[in-house]
């Protein structure tokens, strides 16, 4: 009995070299379209966003040409007299941001530590939502809150500070704080109160970053510290905080970048004043964003360019702050441990 099996002829002639088959056959046509499309989108976004940066930089040239270095040393913004400078405005911007950071840094740090290490489970998820919601609340709403609800209380604190630490120039207010009928209007609309409202926007941003980094603190080290008899604070001090140092700095810087550029809340709270003063509790200050929002409407072309230059300076500052933040956050070993 014979069965015929059709044997295919040997597929590889023996003479062919034994080189391995190429694994990457190149892109499929669909992938080529996909890659091309994604690249186009990436390039469009690059062009769009890059154009803004270049545009702002380009617009600053005529301003700097006209006003020279006086642009950075002049305090007044008097377009009618052709006296334009951002010295006072920059100082005001930094003051408001610094107040915001002084208030928000400890609160954000403590809140983040509380969420990761202290809070009972039920409160924990609830608090995380609260912080996220806080980030979503529009800044103008914080402005209304700061102006109508916070300010009447905050001026008492401001007066207290000027009464007892008024010898320190930062807390000095040019009025008699001990007067029986004290001049409340000298304490309103100050950099201090604007900073408090801006702090509300800085807290969730900083807290979210810090929480993310605290969460990544190695469990083994935590447990080891616990096993050695550490208290929760001991664990936080010896394991979590040293591990998360980069993230804490990065989160704070990121919040600072946000605080520097804040517009709406500041615009509602402050009353414009163009002088360089360290007295943060005193009425009147000005920030770069508020300056732009207040002056763009009736500006001539050259003044618009001056406003753009002021904006460009602000942008360069926030960009610098954010870049430093990014470096710190990247260093903090984040993003590891997500592979299967």
């Amino acid at each position: 009995m014979t069965t015929t099996v059709d044997l295919a002829p040997s597929p590889t002639p023996p003479s062919e070299p034994r080189a391995p088959r190429r694994l990457s056959p190149g892109l499929q046509p669909s992938d080529r379209i996909f890659h091309g499309g994604a690249t186009v989108i990436g390039m469009v976004v690059l062009a769009l966003t890059g154009a803004i940066g270049l545009f702002l930089g380009y617009q600053s040239i005529p301003t700097l040409h006209t006003y020279g270095l006086h642009f950075f040393t002049e305090t007044q913004w008097l377009p009618e007299l052709n006296k334009i400078g951002i010295a006072a405005v920059l100082v005001g911007t930094v003051e408001v941001a610094l107040v915001a950071m002084v208030v928000s840094f400890p609160l954000a740090l403590m809140l983040a530590l509380f969420i990761t290490d202290y809070a009972p489970k039920r409160i924990k998820s609830w608090l995380i939502s609260t912080v996220d919601l806080m980030a979503a609340v529009p800044s103008i709403i914080y402005g209304l809150w700061g102006f109508y609800l916070l300010q009447p209380h905050a001026i008492n604190v401001a007066r207290f500070l000027s009464q007892y630490v008024g010898w320190f120039p930062v807390f000095h207010v040019d009025t008699d704080p001990n007067a029986a009928v004290w001049q409340q209007s000298r304490y309103t609309s100050s950099a201090f109160i604007a900073g408090l409202a801006v702090a509300m926007m800085a807290i969730p941003l900083a807290c979210a970053i810090m929480r993310g980094v605290f969460d990544q603190a190695p469990l083994g080290e935590r447990e080891a510290a616990m096993a050695l008899g550490g208290t929760r604070f001991g664990v936080a001090r010896t394991v979590v905080l040293p591990f998360a140092k980069g993230g804490v700095i990065g989160g704070t810087m990121l919040a600072l970048g946000r605080a520097l550029g804040e517009t709406a809340a500041v615009l509602i709270i402050i009353s414009p004043a163009y002088d360089i003063k360290p007295r943060i509790l005193e009425a009147g200050t000005q920030t770069t964003s508020a300056l732009i929002a207040g002056n763009f409407g009736n500006a001539t072309k050259s003044q618009l360019s001056a406003l753009l230059t002021a904006g460009f300076v602000l942008f360069v500052i926030t960009l610098g702050v954010n870049s430093i933040a990014a470096v710190f956050i990247r260093r903090s070993r984040s993003g590891a441990g997500t592979e299967i």
Binding site: I115, V137, N156, L260, L304
Partner: protein, 366 residues
Amino acid sequence: MTTLYSVPQVDEDDAPPARPRTPRRIRSFTPEDRFAAVGSVLASLALVDVAYLHIFYFSGLLGFLLCWYVAYLVVYGVVVSLANPRPIVVERLVTSTLYLASAVVVLALGSTVVYIFAKGWRALVHVNFFTHDMAGVSPTAPLTQGGILHAIVGTVIEVGIAVAVSVPLGIGTAVYMTEVRGRGSKLVRTVVESMTALPEILAGLFVYVVLIIEFGLSKTGLAVSAAMAVTMVPIIARAGEVALRVVPGGLREASSALGATHWKTVVRVVLPSAAAGLVTATILAIARGIGETAIPLICSGASSFMNTNPVQEPMNSLPLYIYTAYTTHESLAITRAFGAASVLMTMVLVLFVTARFLVRDKKVRR
């Protein structure tokens, strides 16, 4: 039979007294501790009441609370240190401080939400507040006239256009940076990352100078949308990139190993796995866009009439309405501003809850 290993036989009688089966509680907070805490609260309250109000004649609720808290920490620290070693004293004080810090933040947010609604309530109860615009209604008119329909509609249209533009661009950029990884992706990442630092007002000013001054377009809703998109694209791209990056590489490799093309891998595997993160990124951007005040202030005027056409005539929006009503300093206008703020807050809350819901839903299904 020989046993190689001698198993120690434990007699029931020799065994140490039976240990309770429940694990020992390592964080004990005895009734005594509780008494110390409550007692310290009351003691410090009494102390501050006397010192603050009756000796130094200070005024102000905020200062009172602050002093009360400091006094509490001191009293509580002393009480705890009577019976406990230093580490425990520190631990207790830190715990108190952390609880308070969290309470302060929650209280601040809570007071914001409650205050906005409480002040806006008088405007919100009138139906015409939601169904009329402010055309021909003066800021001092009673609340039974006029409304903010034009601002609500304007916000929805402006944000809608901005989202329609920025979501594809943002997510496309994120895909380009993480999946395609073309030659320019590093540059794109750097530029996009730096553009998240762009203050909103500058985006507005940019659009104002380019579109309105240079190209002579009028102040419209579209200009607002364009400026909004400029701020939203980097946010979505950056948050989206993070969401895509945490998709495990194993999933991508598994998909490729099954013969899927890169396109199919991205569309069927990577994007669905990252959906929750992408939705969050989008909602984050919408929440940011919805609250932009500086942009509509610069790129569109505060019109008082209804306008659904984004390319003609100024278009009002909720934040701009709030701001302009605030600048009138008329009490009725400010009540309306708070009413509009409540509506804005409600929109944000709805968006927020939706995002939470979507994220939770995804996690359960996975």
